[in-house]
Symmetry: C2
Subunit: 395 residues, 2 copies
C-alpha cells in the first residue's frame, strides 16, 4: 500500500539508531499547516512524559502540525530527565517543520526505564524531515513497530457531500509483547474538513468502539496514544449532521480494522473474537460484563482450546458486578445458540459451536435479557506461547 | 495426619460412585449436636443450588450439625432439577444423622451442567454415615478433592483461657483446574466455645485475609464455600475479648495455611507469592491495587520467568483505579528494594531481586507512600502449563 496518500500530509519512517537491529525507529508526520487534531491517551496513572506533554498541548486547542514518534525506547519511568528529553524532542521537530513546539505531538514506544538516546534523535529528526514524502505512510507504519510482526496500515474513502474523502491510518501492538509492556499507538489522518471542536468528541466515540474496545491482557501501557488529524484538503465547508455521521462511519471502519490488526498480531494469540454483551440494563453493566468475559484467563484459554465452555463465560459475567438473571441468559457463537434463557442447548449445539471456534475469527454474543444496552469488544485467546513470550527473562 | 481429632466431630470420606476413577467422592461431617456454624459463600451471581440453600439455612441462625459434600459433580447450572436434588441430598443427610434438613450444609464440586447421580447419593450417604470416625478428617479431605494433586489438611492448637483449644480443617483447589472452573472449599472445625453470634463476624474477618485473599486467575466459581463449626467441647464459657483474639490468631494460622495450600497446588502454578500493597490512603485503594497487580497476566508471567520486571508491577497498580503518585512508589521483593520513591535501584538490586524470585515462595511489597492502609493477597505465577491444562478440549 505504498500509494496511500492523504492530501495535506507528508510522512517519513527512517532508522536513526535507537534500535540495534537497524530497523526503522523514527516516524515523522508533517501537515502543510496546523490542522484539526484530537487525541485519546492512556488512563494509566503511571504515564510517560511524552503522553503528559502531548495531552497538555492539545487541551482546549485541538490543532497540531507535527507528529514525531520514536520506537525502541518508551521514555517512561525516566523522571525529570525524561520530561526534559520529551520536550527537547518536540523542540527539534518544531524547528525542522517551522512551527511552535505547541503544534507537535510526541510519542515514544519501547523499553521503559532507560533514558532516550538524545544525540541519535538530534541528528535523526532532521534526517526524517528530509525523507518526508506524500506516499511515506507505509514507512511511517514500519517505523512505529516494536515487536509487531507486520506493519499495520489501513485506508478507506467515501463520497460525502459530493466530495471524495479519504481516511488512512497506522497502528501498533498493544500487549503480549516482550520484553516490556507494550504500547498501543494509532495515528489516523483524513483530508475531510471538520471543525476542530467537533473532532474531539467524534474521535472519543470512535476510539471507544475501536482502540479502546480491544483487550489482550488488560494491562494498559504508560504510553498509549491514538491521534486523529484532519487537513480539510478535500475541500468544502466543515462536515456536519448527516455528513458528519457518514464520515464517522468511514472513520470507524478504518480505525476498527487498525484496532483489530493489533489483536490479529497479538503475540501468542491465534484467534480474533468479537464479543458482544447485549440486553444489559445499562451501558456500564454491558461494559462490566464484556470486560470480565474478555479478560478471563479461563475463557481465553478455552478459546485457545476451541472449547465451547459456556460455564466459564457465564461465570465470568456472573462475577463482573453487572446484575444478571441466570434464567434469562442466552449465549451464541456466530449463529449457533449454545445456551438459551438459562438452558444448555445440548451436545449438537456444542459440536456446532466448537466448529465456529475452530475459525480464526468469530463472534460471541451473550444476551442478558434485561434491557437494550450493549457493548462490543475485541479480544484474543491465551496460548502457551503468550506465557513463553512474556515469561522470558529480559536479556 | 490420620490422628487429627477435634472433640465433638466425626468425619468420613468414601467412594460412592460419582467419580469413574474410583477415587473418594463423598465427604460427611457430623457434630454430636447442633453447633455454632458460620459460612462464607461465593459472590458470583451464577450460583449453584447447594450454595443458595446452605446460605439460606445459616442466615440469622448460625448453627449446623452436618456437612455433606460430593465431588465430581458441581450441581451448578442444573435448573429446577438441581434445586430439588440439592434439597434431597440435605434430606438424606438429615435422616441418617437424626436432625432437621435446616441443620445440614450441602456442598458440591466438579463438572457443571450435568445432573447429580441421585441413586448413587441415596445409597452413598448412609454408607458415609456408617464410615464416620473421630479420626476421619483425612478421609474427608481426600473425598472433597477434584483435580487437586494432594489432600489439604491443617491443624493447630493453643492454650486459651487455661484450656487446650484445637482447630483443624481441610480445603480444596480454587482455579486453574480442568475441565471446568473449579471450586474452592474450606471446612474448619474447632472445639473452642464460641457464641454462635460471634462466629459469623470472626469467620468473615479471617476469610477476608485467607480464603478470600488468594487469587489464581480471578475467576470465582459458582460453588465456593468456606465453613467454620465450633463444638465448644474444649469447655468453659464462650471466648471473648482477649481470648477471642487469641483464638482468631490460631484460626487465622490454620485457615491461612489451608488457603496457601490451594495456591501451592494450583495447576500450572510454580510459585507462591505474598503480595502486600501498603501505604494506601484507604483499604479499598489497597485492595484495588493488590487485585490489579496479583491478577495481571503480564505480572504473573514475569513471576514465572523470575523476571524482576518492576515496570509491569507499577503499571498494573497505575491502572487499578487506586490513586498513586509515581514519585512515592517503593517496591521490594523479600528484603531487596528494587524501586524506591520512584527511582529504579539499579542492576545490582535487580540481580538480587531475580535471586529472590527464583525461590518457590517469596513476598512482594509495593508501598504507595500515601497513607497507612494495606492489603495482603496470595497469588501464583502463570505458566505455559496453565494454558495447556485449561485449553484442552473437554473430552
Amino acid at each position: 500500500m505504498s500509494d496511500v496518500r492523504v492530501a495535506g500530509f507528508r510522512f517519513a519512517g527512517i532508522h536513526c539508531g535507537i534500535k540495534k537491529s537497524g530497523k526503522p525507529d523514527l516516524a515523522l508526520l508533517v501537515a502543510d499547516g496546523p490542522v484539526a487534531c484530537a487525541g485519546v491517551y492512556t488512563t494509566n496513572q503511571i504515564v510517560a512524559a511524552p503522553v503528559v506533554q502531548s495531552k497538555a498541548r492539545l487541551a482546549g486547542r485541538h490543532t497540531a502540525k507535527v507528529v514525531v514518534i520514536n520506537s525502541g525506547n518508551a521514555n517512561a519511568c525516566t523522571g525529570p530527565q525524561g520530561d526534559s528529553d520529551a520536550r527537547q524532542m518536540a523542540a527539534w521537530a518544531a524547528m525542522v517543520a517551522g512551527c511552535q513546539p505547541m503544534d507537535v505531538q510526541v510519542c515514544s514506544t519501547g523499553v521503559i526505564g532507560a533514558p532516550l538516546p538524545m544525540s541519535t534523535l538530534e541528528s535523526g529528526i532532521p534526517a526524517a524531515y528530509e525523507a518526508l514524502s506524500d506516499d511515506g505512510l507505509s514507512d511511517f507504519a514500519e517505523a512505529i513497530c516494536t515487536t509487531d510482526t507486520f506493519a499495520k496500515l489501513r485506508q478507506g474513502s467515501a463520497e460525502i457531500d459530493g466530495r471524495r474523502v479519504t481516511v488512512a491510518g497506522v497502528s501498533k501492538g498493544a500487549g503480549m509483547i516482550h520484553p516490556n509492556m507494550a504500547t498501543m499507538l494509532g495515528v489516523v489522518v483524513t483530508d475531510a474538513s471538520i471543525a476542530p471542536a467537533e473532532l474531539d468528541p467524534l474521535w472519543r466515540r470512535v476510539c471507544h468502539r475501536t482502540f479502546n474496545a480491544i483487550t489482550i491482557d488488560g494491562d494498559t501501557s504508560t504510553n498509549d496514544t491514538a491521534l486523529l488529524l484532519a487537513s480539510g484538503r478535500a475541500g468544502g465547508a466543515h462536515l456536519k449532521d448527516e455528513s458528519l455521521d457518514q464520515f464517522e462511519t468511514l472513520l470507524h471502519e478504518v480505525a476498527g480494522e487498525l484496532a483489530k490488526d493489533i489483536i490479529r498480531d497479538a503475540e501468542g494469540g491465534t484467534k480474533v473474537v468479537e464479543l458482544t454483551v447485549s440486553g444489559a440494563a445499562t451501558l456500564a453493566d454491558a461494559a462490566k460484563a464484556a470486560d470480565a468475559v474478555s479478560l478471563s484467563p479461563l475463557v481465553k484459554t478455552a478459546m485457545h482450546g476451541e472449547d465451547p465452555n459456556w460455564g466459564r463465560i457465564i461465570a465470568a459475567a456472573g462475577r463482573s458486578g453487572a446484575p444478571l438473571d441466570p434464567d434469562r441468559l442466552t449465549l451464541s457463537m456466530d449463529d449457533v445458540v449454545l445456551y438459551q434463557d438459562g438452558v444448555w442447548q445440548g451436545v449438537d449445539a456444542e459440536a456446532s459451536a466448537h466448529a465456529v471456534m475452530c475459525k480464526p475469527e468469530y463472534s460471541v454474543r451473550l444476551d442478558l435479557g434485561l434491557g437494550s444496552a450493549s457493548r462490543t469488544v475485541f479480544t484474543c485467546d491465551f496460548s502457551a506461547d503468550y506465557v513463553r513470550i512474556n515469561a522470558d527473562y529480559r536479556s
